[in-house]
């Protein structure tokens, strides 16, 4: 069964870019345009991986991660943050929130797939 990935980003082009790259790699992709929608979607099914932007309307990425980690089905699931921050302090903040890792924007499709493969156990 293909891996299910939920992506959450308010930017359409970023979402499209993510979805496109991941779909081409035969992952199944579900999209949300804000953190709240992502959280709602995450509750309807268990995604193998969640990739979320940090700056989003309604619910920001870090809060989304914190919320997800309180759900039993997401306690150990990988969650990656999309961030432009290179500041080590911010990275630690992400870790404390419960993120598995981060993808620094800008990234190219290879980087994205490498990061996804790094945390996914299922093959696409």
């Amino acid at each position: 069964m293909a891996c299910n990935i939920l992506i959450s980003d308010d930017s359409i082009s970023m979402r499209k870019m993510l979805a496109f790259t991941l779909t081409e790699a035969r992952y199944q992709v579900t999209q949300a345009d804000n953190g709240l929608t992502a959280l709602e979607l995450a509750k309807t099914q268990t995604f193998d991986l969640i990739i979320t932007d940090v700056n989003m309307p309604k619910l920001d990425g870090l809060s989304l991660v914190r919320e997800l980690r309180t759900l039993s089905q997401y306690k150990y699931q990988p969650i990656l943050l999309l961030t432009t921050e290179t500041d080590p302090e911010k990275k630690q903040e992400a870790k404390r929130a419960g993120a598995t890792g981060w993808i620094i924007k800008p990234f190219n499709p290879d980087k994205l797939l490498a990061a996804v493969r790094k945390v996914l156990n299922c093959s696409p």
């Binding site: 999309l82 290879d110 945390v119 156990n121």
Partner: protein, 788 residues
């Protein structure tokens, strides 16, 4: 495989422009003083997402600029700044700069670097913290015109590390490691991609089965990674578990086994469920051999999925002699305790040393970044595909109607099967249902092209803000009816006329605060843009409470320009009409301010070319209202059918002013041949349509037919026709598809009976008519001539 980034690029531009519009309007909403956090946050997000998106395409100009803007906004949202007018103005300018950079990127033109730099420096001067260089993936700057994506490169190896055999890694996860979603098996897999990996698990910490917490990590590992790799590459693998484990990475000496505790046995990492490695290895050239990749590291960057020569002999022999201990690679995420499973199974007694660890990297993605991408991402100027965003409700409507259409069709199908007269009623019902479906479908499809006028109105807050600052005026802009929808083409063509009218209102209409006070008005002037539906038309009103139009000044100018004689007493309407005369308003100004590119004549011409009309009402010292009337769509028009002899012609209802029975005593003959009709204060030339078109009329007696007063291109004319028939909506068909353009005819339509009727082009008719009647008009009528 080529990832077609063109579409994503296009989307990025569209989205960025839209975001910048929002950023602009949010900036305009920002009030001076303390920060409105929510508002600043949403402004911040725009700069942020433009930076992020631009990074994908390596648009450096915009990345750097957006980064500076973002940093300033970040400071603002942390309340390190107070909102001041200069700050707002600067941020507005940064919106302009970003728009400019995006436009030039989109069109492949050069960016005005000086201007970008100026604004960037201004932004920096506001910053409290020094700016750091935005992160760019490991490579030096590429020029903005080179929009190709560069494949990831592996950093060069430090010469000192060249001598190193590999790395010894002591990895002791904290028990909580799994709770971050990280999994050691994944890390090992990544490591195995870099070179030959030996894994020595330490299971001493595993408690008794009953005490075992499946979600706790009890294992630790010692790993040997063979291959000449920079340490940073290895460290990067563990980047995400930093702080969740004890990690030691030391260079691997030649005599590696001595480093390993004697009771540990190495495990080779091979994928699960692959019984015959030989088949796997020979079957696919997509597999990546660790040895091959590690040797190629120094020479060339690895591209995933690039076929790599594979050496199989060693693996074959070894796998045959003793099946390797396998670690399941595809263990599911629900089961993070996979390593425990592995440990509980018997560890092979024979220590296996696999010199080559082959990991079939079943890369399902052909690398998204192959060479053909370059051609795809290169700027293609002709790809300026315009698109519109259509609301989901409109699409749903269409789907519903098509659904109904299918039902109707199947119903008619049934009626059609062994049809007899008893089914006539059903047939009639079916046909009328079909007619309704078709009409609804047509309307819904038309709606897809409709966009809210807010697309056009949204630029005015900024324009009014900038202009009022420039003119030293205080203006409140009110927008209403912004959800009124217009055809996309109409909307686009209305853009310039609206800007002109708004500028006019600010330039000439609204007075400076002092003058307003003098006449007892509030300092702040009101400019109101209002859009609404009226009888199948879209109305747009631009009203201000300014000085109004001084008709006496217009009269003087008209006399000066010899448009009227000093003794003429033109009506108000005729004087307003002068505003729309070419060269009138721009050549000599009613107010002192300089004119701009287009005049009111151009405004009116644009509106008329859309089949619309504009009129003006003004009261001195009270204000001015421009009323624009536009058709809903260009493909359909509200037509008036008229009959001349056997022929039926169609006039756009918008062009008709009135129709009347002719009173013979009001018909005058100019120069003995040109007939004019005295309509109140006006003389309207009479055009006998049958004469111009050479068809046999029902009557040539003026008092037996009708005179339809129409207006086209600013001139009025009376068309003499036999009679008026019905009014109906008609679908415009082009004559040019199979024939050519005919003067006086704007197209054709198909009437209910299947016959063709021609649609008259009033402006063309008037030209045709004037071409025929080369008459000299006596002095007394010259004023009228000038105005019509």
């Amino acid at each position: 495989m080529a990832v077609d980034m063109t579409e994503v690029r296009q989307l990025f531009f569209e989205e960025s422009f839209e975001n910048l519009d929002n950023m602009e309007s949010n900036l305009l909403d920002l009030s001076i003083g303390p920060i409105d956090k929510e508002l600043v946050n949403s402004i911040f997000r725009v700069a942020h997402s433009i930076k992020g998106g631009a990074g994908i395409f390596k648009f450096e100009h915009i990345i750097n600029f957006a980064h500076v803007t973002e940093t300033l906004l970040d400071e603002m949202r942390k309340a390190e700044h107070l909102v001041t007018q200069p700050l707002i103005d600067l941020l507005l300018r940064s919106v302009d700069i970003m728009r400019m950079i995006l436009t030039s990127l989109q069109e492949g033109t050069k960016v005005d670097e000086q201007e970008v730099l100026d604004c960037e420096n201004q932004l920096k001067s506001f910053l409290k913290t020094p700016i750091e260089v935005p992160f760019l993936e490991g490579h030096k700057s590429t020029s903005s015109t080179n929009n190709t994506i560069i494949p990831p490169t592996i950093p060069p190896i430090d010469p000192a590390e060249m001598l190193i055999e590999g790395w010894h890694i002591n990895f002791k996860p904290y028990p909580t490691l799994l709770a971050t979603g990280n999994d050691p098996i994944n890390l090992f897999r990544e490591l195995a991609n870099l070179g030959t990996l030996e894994i020595f698990p330490n299971s001493q910490q595993i408690p008794s089965f009953l005490a075992l917490e499946p979600q706790t990590c009890y294992l630790s590992w010692e790993l040997n990674l063979h291959g000449q790799l920079p340490k940073t590459v290895v460290e990067e693998i563990f980047e995400w578990v930093e702080g969740d484990c004890d990690l030691e990475i030391t260079p691997l000496k030649k005599n590696l086994p001595s480093q390993i505790a004697p009771n540990l046995h190495p495990i080779s990492l091979v994928p699960s469920g692959k019984s015959s490695q030989r088949e796997e290895l020979s079957a696919s050239s997509q597999k990546l051999n660790a040895e091959a990749s590690s040797t190629s590291l120094r020479s060339a960057p690895i591209q995933l999925g690039q076929p790599v020569e594979i050496k199989t002999e060693k693996v074959e022999t070894e796998t045959q002699s003793a099946p390797p201990f396998t670690l399941p690679l595809s263990s599911s995420m629900e089961n993070p305790t996979l390593s425990i499973e592995a440990i509980n199974s018997p560890i092979p007694s024979l220590p296996l040393h696999l010199e080559t660890l082959s990991l079939p990297l079943e890369d399902p993605v052909k690398p998204p970044l192959d060479s053909s991408l370059d051609t795809h991402t290169h700027r293609n100027n002709s790809s300026e595909a315009t698109s519109i965003r259509v609301g989901i409700d409109k699409i749903d409507d269409l789907i519903n109607i098509v659904g109904e259409l299918v039902i109707t069709q199947s119903m008619l199908d049934q009626v059609g099967e062994d049809f007899d007269n008893s089914k006539l009623i059903q047939l009639r019902d079916g046909l009328s249902q079909l007619e309704r479906n078709t009409r609804e479908l047509q309307e819904s499809v038309m709606r897809v092209r409709m966009l809210p006028i807010s697309y056009s109105f949204n630029r005015f807050p900024r324009l009014v803000h900038d202009l009022s600052v420039q003119l030293g005026k205080k203006v409140e802009l009110k927008l209403s009816g912004i959800h009124t929808e217009l055809d996309k083409t109409v909307l686009e063509k209305m853009s310039d006329p609206l800007v002109h009218l708004v500028r006019n209102a600010l330039d000439h209409g609204i007075e400076i605060p002092l003058q307003r006070q003098l006449v007892g008005k509030s300092e702040t002037g009101l400019l109101h843009l209002h859009a609404f539906h009226q009888g199948g038309n879209i109305m747009i009103q631009i009203s201000d409470d300014g000085a109004g139009i001084d008709l006496e000044k217009i009269r003087q100018k008209a006399i000066q320009q010899k448009l009227i004689a000093p003794e003429d007493r033109p009506s108000e309407e005729q004087l307003y009409e002068l505003i729309f005369q070419p060269g009138f308003s721009t050549a000599t100004q009613v107010s002192d301010l300089s004119g701009r590119g287009v005049g009111m004549d151009v405004v009116r011409r644009n509106i008329r070319s859309l089949g619309g009309a504009i009129e003006v009402q003004s009261t001195l010292n009270k204000g001015t209202v421009f009323k624009i009337r536009l058709p809903l769509t260009l493909a359909i028009l509200d037509g008036q059918l008229v009959r001349v002899g056997q022929e039926i012609y169609i006039l756009s209802l918008l062009s008709i002013i009135e129709s009347l029975r002719i009173k013979p005593q009001l018909v005058n003959l100019l120069a003995g041949k040109a007939e004019v009709y005295k309509l109140r204060d006006d003389y309207i030339p009479i055009l006998r349509l049958y004469d111009l078109f050479q068809v046999t009329p029902g009557t040539t007696q003026l008092d037996q037919g009708l005179l339809v007063i129409v207006e086209g291109d600013g001139q009025k004319i009376g068309l003499f026709v036999d009679e008026l028939l019905s009014q109906q909506q008609i679908v415009i068909k082009s004559l040019e598809t199979n024939f050519k353009k005919i003067q006086g005819i704007s197209g054709a339509t198909i009437l209910g009976d299947g016959s063709v009727a021609l649609i008259l082009d009033v402006a063309g008719l008037i030209q045709l008519f004037h071409g025929r009647t080369q008459i000299t008009v006596p002095r007394s009528a010259s004023f009228t001539r000038n105005l019509i």
